[in-house]
């Protein structure tokens, strides 16, 4: 029975309306194993994770946990059995202390517990996730985003789960915080826990996973040992065809006349003004941890962050956008960091999302022009790898899944401004792009 996996799902199918999210996919994980779950956007990773965690019970197929057939009706039941899931988005209460957040569910502690008692009880869990230095009575909002993610995991560990699902824990984190998460996964593994690790970061996958399960178009590939694979073979499995190279060869950039000149730009939140040039055909990277000011610089260029001064020069015009509207008018496309906050109009049709910054271009004297509107948005959707089939539908959570925009596209842009890159962002960037794009009649 040693070979018996702890958790085994076979022949899992799940469809949402006309969309077949999973078709006969299988998944397994053994005790004390770190299993990577990877796949392209829309491959069914999130659906699989939801099914495992009990959030989605409308599937068909077999679910075995510890040799028994299971069909969880709710995440609470799954949690009682020992399966916990750390969602991509934080579910902490920022005004409560760290310790209070850890025991939010209220089990394992007396009904009336003093803050000191909670702090004492929370300490070991914090140490386990590498937050030994954090005072459990500290306000959660005062922690960094990475630390908050770790607190969330600590809360899950407090329930002593056997299987822990981490859904893109490092997506929004800087390097230091990511390393903390990886250390924690290793410690959990040593403690005999099983971890399902969903990520888009190839280096992390290879660093910590024992085996990797690849999902593609709702079908699963047999899990393979991470040691037998490299980045190229993994990407090939994800895509289903040979990519040649993960990143296309860089074209040499002739740095003669800059496309964008940034002069003494001084956004609020950074210590001194910054100047740089971006040349046509160039991708300029701005490196820095969360809070280092890179977002502020991009925000200032896009007009969404307050600035103390400076000028931009694009297409021969000097300007300093004080509002995003001005930046858009000057031809700057901005893809925001937090797509849910200011990147997307969730619940409005994708078509409207795509054309939101481009109402001027897709209308005629204040009236939306159906023809220009549909053709322009569809064409741009395809360019940004948004599935045109989804375009007339509503933007629901399925579209907010992460994706890598194809490198071929980025080469078209003069410059790109985005700390993270996701489908949602693709939708919002596609819109900004469209704002300065004329329909060729």
């Amino acid at each position: 029975m040693a070979a018996q996996p702890l958790l085994r799902l076979t022949n899992i199918s799940r469809h949402y309306g006309a969309i077949q999210a999973l078709r006969g996919a299988s998944f397994e994980i053994g005790r004390g194993e770190v299993m990577g779950l990877v796949g392209e956007n829309g491959a069914g990773k999130s659906t699989m994770v939801k099914i495992i965690g009990g959030f989605d019970h409308g599937f068909t197929g077999e679910y075995f946990y510890d040799g028994e057939v299971r069909h969880f009706k709710s995440p609470t039941v799954a949690e009682q059995v020992g399966i916990s899931i750390a969602q991509q988005e934080l579910s902490l209460i920022p005004t409560l202390s760290v310790a209070e957040n850890i025991f939010l569910a209220g089990d394992g502690v007396p009904v009336f517990a003093s803050r000191g008692y909670l702090a004492k009880k929370a300490k070991p869990f914090l140490e386990e996730v590498g937050l030994g230095h954090v005072d459990p009575l500290r306000n959660t909002a005062r922690l960094s985003v990475g630390e908050q993610h770790l607190v969330e995991v600590a809360r899950l560990i407090a329930h002593n789960p056997q299987v822990l699902i981490l859904d893109e824990p490092t997506a929004a984190l800087g390097e230091t915080d990511s390393i903390r998460i990886l250390d924690m996964v290793n410690r959990l593994k040593e403690g005999g826990k099983s971890v399902i690790y969903v990520s888009h970061r190839m280096d992390e996958i290879f660093k910590i996973c024992d085996r990797i399960t690849v999902l593609r178009d709702g079908e699963s590939q047999a899990p393979r040992a991470a040691a037998d694979m490299d980045v190229n073979s993994l990407v090939e499995l994800m895509l289903g065809f040979e990519l040649g190279d993960m990143y296309p060869k860089r074209k040499p950039v002739t740095r003669s006349a800059p496309a964008l000149k940034v002069r003494k730009l001084w956004p609020d939140g950074i210590l001194e003004p910054i100047s740089f040039d971006v040349y046509p055909g160039e991708i300029l990277g701005l490196a820095g941890q969360l809070g280092s000011g890179t977002s502020e610089i991009l925000g200032a260029i896009a007009g969404s962050t307050r600035t103390r001064g400076g000028t931009l020069n694009y297409k021969g015009k000097d300007f300093l956008p004080s509002r995003p509207k001005e930046a858009i008018e000057h031809g700057i496309a901005y893809c925001s960091e937090d797509r849910k906050y200011d990147g997307l109009f969730l619940g409005r049709p994708i078509m409207e999302n795509l054309s939101a910054p481009a109402l001027e271009t897709t209308s005629n004297r204040g009236f939306l022009s159906g023809f220009i509107y549909v053709s322009a948005t569809t064409e741009n959707a395809v360019k940004f790898t948004v599935d045109p089939k989804r375009v007339p539908r509503f933007t629901r959570s399925c579209v907010a899944l992460p994706i890598r925009a194809p490198p071929s596209w980025w080469r078209r842009q003069t410059f790109r401004k985005s700390p993270t890159c996701r489908t949602g962002s693709s939708v919002s960037t596609a819109g900004s792009w469209l704002a300065n794009w004329r329909w060729k009649r």
């Binding site: 309306g17 006309a18 969309i19 077949q20 959030f55 178009d217 896009a302 969404s304 509002r323 995003p324 509207k325 858009i328 008018e329 901005y334 925001s336 906050y341 200011d342 990147g343 997307l344 109009f345 969730l346 619940g347 409005r348 409207e352 939101a356 910054p357 109402l359 001027e360 209308s363 204040g366 009236f367 939306l368 089939k389 007339p392 539908r393 509503f394 629901r396 959570s397 907010a400 919002s428 819109g431 900004s432 704002a435």
Partner: protein, 357 residues
Amino acid sequence: MTDATAPSGQALNIIQRITRDYSPLVIAMVSLFLIVFVAGAVLTDDFLTWFNVKTIIRDAALVGIMAIGLTFVTLSGNFFLLSMKEIAALSIICFATLMGAEWNQWGAPGADPTTYSLAMTFLVAFAATMVIATIAGALQGALVGLGGNPIVVPLGAAGLFFGIGSWWSDNLVVSYRRPHGAEWLGTGSFIGDIPNITVAFVIIAIVAELTLRYTTFGRQVYLVGANRAAGRATGHENFGMAIKCCIIASLCAAFVAVAFSGQVSSAHVNYFSSEFGSSGDMTIMVIAIVMVGGNSIMGGYGSTLRTSLAAVFISSIDNMMVLNGFNSGARVLAVGLMIVFSIVVFALVRRGSRSVE
């Protein structure tokens, strides 16, 4: 790939599209409302007579026009303009005062009024009322757009407008002599025996719906309502939208005030607080219609078409209850139940869609 298997958007019939786009709860609620409506219509004598249908739509028209205006504010994410009733009160005082003003009587003194003199008196009073309503709307819109609380600002403004109206009229009934130019709007009819106010309601409903669907302004209303931060990032700021939407709502309120004044040839600041609709209070009635129409309180989702249908629906239920001899208390109760019911249903739908995310 999935291209071959997935049915395309066009191939779906209407039932499939409804089940795809709407939650079962919403479908159940609308069906229940329809069943109540049909059952009531069949069981109530005299309900389905031409005269009664006209009455229903005429009753729906006044609150309906106001609700359509308010829908713009709600859709743009600026909650409810809680001062609708007071804007109407100020407008009706302004209108009636100007209708009766000595300097605003056109035509020869002492002579019988001609069509020209009646029309001029009406137009001057009407234009002035609309200007005042525009200022009232713009003032609130600007304050809300600058970051003022969308509940407190209109409540404060409500006191201001009511106070001005009350002071101006010395809290008395302002009346003016018939015949006057507002009769045409209030009680006249130029298409058969359909009241003009009903025609105005239908036209406003159609124009509002088309504006929301097919103009950039309408699209901006939805986008700013759906996500204010993303709206700003894509170049649509709430400041302008709040002002425009509040002006639209104010103009609708003022239009209703003029039409109502035309019906009774007089004005009093309390007309919209006590003697209006089944629940008596105009603001509550109008909010009820917007809510029962299923417009999202947070903005971004809904339409003026739904608002118009809700106005007709509430008016029909009210009418049925009158015909069946219920007193006003029971009618207020019915409206209240409908609001609570739709709030609960939409809250459940909202929660359901969140847990999926």
